[in-house]
């Protein structure tokens, strides 16, 4: 299968420190990749390059066969790469529906905010112009008339900008319905969609964040330590959700310290050490011990006899 994402020789330097050094790998549809490595190995820096937070200092990213570069995280997200950070970016005071539609609220359709603004500017501005022109004319004659008129029109446009919002009504019922559907497609159970997200458990919140990404057409999901703050049964729920995503064709790159987690979900495991990729293993054909020894440097990729596909294509890359 054609890979969805190909990262080729990505490099990122912070001053003299090479945080990520010529790292390459592919992600295919429906695949879960575990990205592992010791603290400071460069995992976060690597995924920040493919999610648009950092610009690579070297190397290329191909997404859906096309070479891409991301100006910022929004750009990456618009193209379908969604990253779930530990803080989840949820507004805890709002309910599930409001969070899934945060910043992209569904509205009851009357007319666009732009048209509303023009309408309000005219409806409020013209009478204001007449009133002020009339009043000012009395004191300052013609200059007053002109000034009064301009003031009125100017104020009208400010008021139009201020009050255009009153035609832009959020459609909470529709948002709740759509959210329920989105959660259902991912087999996520949340007791009450109308309560504040703050009252949900850690795993449920994580699920809301994931459902939001999927609803907005994420083509690939990146998760940095998603289970770190969760209890055991919650962790299992999130891992199940990761598998659900993969089975629906959305590949996931998951960073984790926890070998058990990684082996529970990952198809392939990529190991970073001091910014370099030191191994890539098929999860079914390796053991946690091997991964750990790669992470800390007891073995090297040569001994494992695994040559990543991206490296094959690019002989110049050193491992």
């Amino acid at each position: 299968m054609e890979p969805i994402l190909r990262a080729v020789n990505l490099t990122k330097k912070f001053g003299g420190l090479v945080a990520v050094d010529n790292v390459s790998f592919d992600v295919s549809p429906g695949e879960v990749i575990g990205l592992v490595g010791d603290n400071g190995a460069g995992k976060s820096t690597f995924i920040k390059m493919i999610s648009g937070v950092y610009q690579p200092d070297g190397g290329e990213i191909f997404f859906n066969g096309k070479k891409v570069s991301f100006a910022d995280p929004r750009d990456a997200r618009d193209q379908g790469i969604e990253t779930i950070y530990q803080d989840l970016a949820l507004a805890e005071n709002l309910d599930v529906g409001a969070n899934i539609f945060l910043g992209r609220e569904l509205k009851k359709k009357f007319f666009s905010e732009f048209i509303s603004r023009i309408l309000f500017s005219a409806v409020l501005g013209l009478p204001l112009a007449v009133l002020f022109a009339w009043a000012a004319f009395h004191f300052f004659q013609w200059p007053g008339l002109l000034l009064g008129m301009l003031t009125g029109l100017g104020l009208g446009s400010v008021l139009g900008w201020l009050f255009a919002c009153v035609t832009q009504l959020v459609d909470r019922r529709k948002m709740a319905g759509e959210s329920a559907g989105a959660l259902k497609r991912l087999d996520i159970e949340i007791p009450s969609l109308t309560q504040q997200v703050r009252n949900l458990s850690g795993g449920q919140r994580q699920s809301v964040a994931i459902a939001r990404s999927i609803y907005w057409n994420a083509r690939m999901m990146i998760m940095d330590e998603p289970t770190a703050a969760l209890g055991v049964s919650e962790q299992r729920k999130v891992l199940t959700l990761v598998r659900t995503l993969a089975s629906q064709g959305v590949p996931v790159i998951i960073i984790s310290h926890n070998m058990q987690d990684v082996f529970a979900v990952a198809d392939r495991i990529v190991i970073l050490r001091r910014g370099k990729k030191v191994g890539e293993q098929i999860a079914a054909k390796t053991t946690p011990d091997k991964i750990v020894s790669l992470m800390v440097g007891a073995e090297t990729v040569h001994k494992m006899g695994v040559i990543p596909r991206a490296l094959e294509n690019n002989g110049s890359a050193k491992v």
């Binding site: 929004r74 949820l90 507004a91 910043g103 002020f132 919002c165 009153v166 959020v170 007791p191 049964s233």
Partner: protein, 370 residues
């Protein structure tokens, strides 16, 4: 949380936290009722005055208008969170009062038609407040000065300008019809004769005035309309939703593409416009404009917001809560007058109520999250 809890079927079943928060949010209502009952009993026993009549209700409502309008301004800003508070709105109120009075005095002296005089005066007073609101919003949203500091500074600037304009004196010589607006009623009822709008029935002799019941003071009607508008904006519009979102998590709001800076700027302008409306109402009620018109209102308004359950940390609160808060404070103020007590007691009482409100709120939250 266990698997069985996670597996609860989704539906209308409310969680314990949700039920507790409903109770927490209802307490200001109980408190308001309690307050009215207490005043009714005391005034009956002590002065043999009947507290529960339409005159008291009207008195309380009129007392509440000023606190409520400034309270609504604070509600918007405090919900927007991140240290949001506006310490300049009461001075904007003063500026609006001065500007409106200034314009109306000039136009009245030039004997322009009443509609033009009132219209221009009111609008000039209200709309001048766009300027301090915009400066506040820009300082907070773009320059990222903490709201406490920027609005404190802006408040002094506005106060100074209002003082300069009015030369530190009340601007009197207002049109005579102004008082009719400020102290008149929407509706008068003359038993056995019927209702009239805006004016006391034409055929009424001075002796009849005793019988005529004024209903719905104009200022209360105006305040009610404004309150409904603010409720609508906060509860129903996308703009309102964004204010709650920003108050809940500004980083998430930025990341999800909410126009945070423009939303905050609009919020501060809206707050200032509300202060402007309160300012022209003041001018209409007292037929003069003074730079210190809003002096005692700010802290009462913030107290009303807090009593109404709006969180000082942002993201939570409602217009209805602030209405109740304002009514509670107005009931205290009016009740003390009816009881013939020293008005200074209002500060003590309001202070105690605020502290009780915060304790109840905190206890409630602690319970919900336990």
């Amino acid at each position: 949380m266990t698997d069985t809890e996670l597996a609860t079927p989704s539906g209308s079943k409310k969680s314990r936290a949700e039920r507790l928060s409903t109770i927490r949010k209802a307490w200001p209502w109980f408190f308001l009722i309690l307050m009215v009952v207490v005043f009714a009993i005391i005034s009956k026993n002590a002065n043999n005055v009947n507290f529960l009549n339409y005159r008291s209700v009207q008195g309380i409502l009129v007392y509440a208008t000023q606190i409520l309008l400034i309270g609504l301004a604070e509600t918007i800003i405090i919900i927007s969170g991140n240290g949001g508070i506006d310490l300049s709105v009461h001075y904007s109120l003063g500026l609006a009062a001065v500007v409106a009075a200034f314009v109306m005095r000039a136009m009245f002296a030039a004997s322009l038609p009443p509609v033009l005089t009132i219209g221009t005066g009111f609008l000039a007073g209200i709309l001048i407040c766009i300027i301090p609101g915009w400066v506040n919003g820009t300082l907070v949203a773009k320059v990222k000065v903490p709201p406490f500091i920027s609005t404190l500074g802006m408040g002094y600037v506005v106060y100074g300008i209002a003082l300069l304009l009015s030369r530190g004196q009340a601007i009197a010589d207002q049109p005579d019809y102004l008082a009719q607006i400020g102290n008149g009623n929407l509706l008068y009822y003359w038993p056995k004769h019927g209702f009239t709008f805006f004016k006391v029935p034409a055929g009424a002799a001075p002796a009849d005035l005793q019988q005529i019941i004024p209903l719905i003071p104009n200022v209360v009607a105006i305040t009610l309309l404004v309150t409904i508008a603010v409720w609508f904006i906060l509860a129903k519009t996308q703009f309102g939703q964004h204010i709650y979102a920003i108050g809940g998590n500004i980083q998430a709001s930025i990341r999800s593409g909410i126009p945070v800076a423009s939303t905050l700027t609009r919020a501060y302008i809206l707050a200032a416009i509300l202060a402007g409306i309160a300012g022209v109402i003041w001018t209409a009620r007292f037929t003069s404009g003074a730079s210190n018109a809003g002096e005692p209102t700010l802290l009462f308004a913030i107290a009303a917001v807090v009593i109404g359950g709006t969180s000082m940390f942002g993201g939570e609160g409602s217009v209805v809560g602030t209405v109740i808060g304002a009514l509670i404070i107005a009931t205290i103020q009016y009740g003390l007058v009816v009881l013939g007590q020293q008005p200074y007691w209002q500060y003590v009482t309001v202070g105690v109520v605020v502290i009780i409100a915060v304790i109840v709120d905190q206890l409630g939250r602690a319970l919900e999250h336990s």
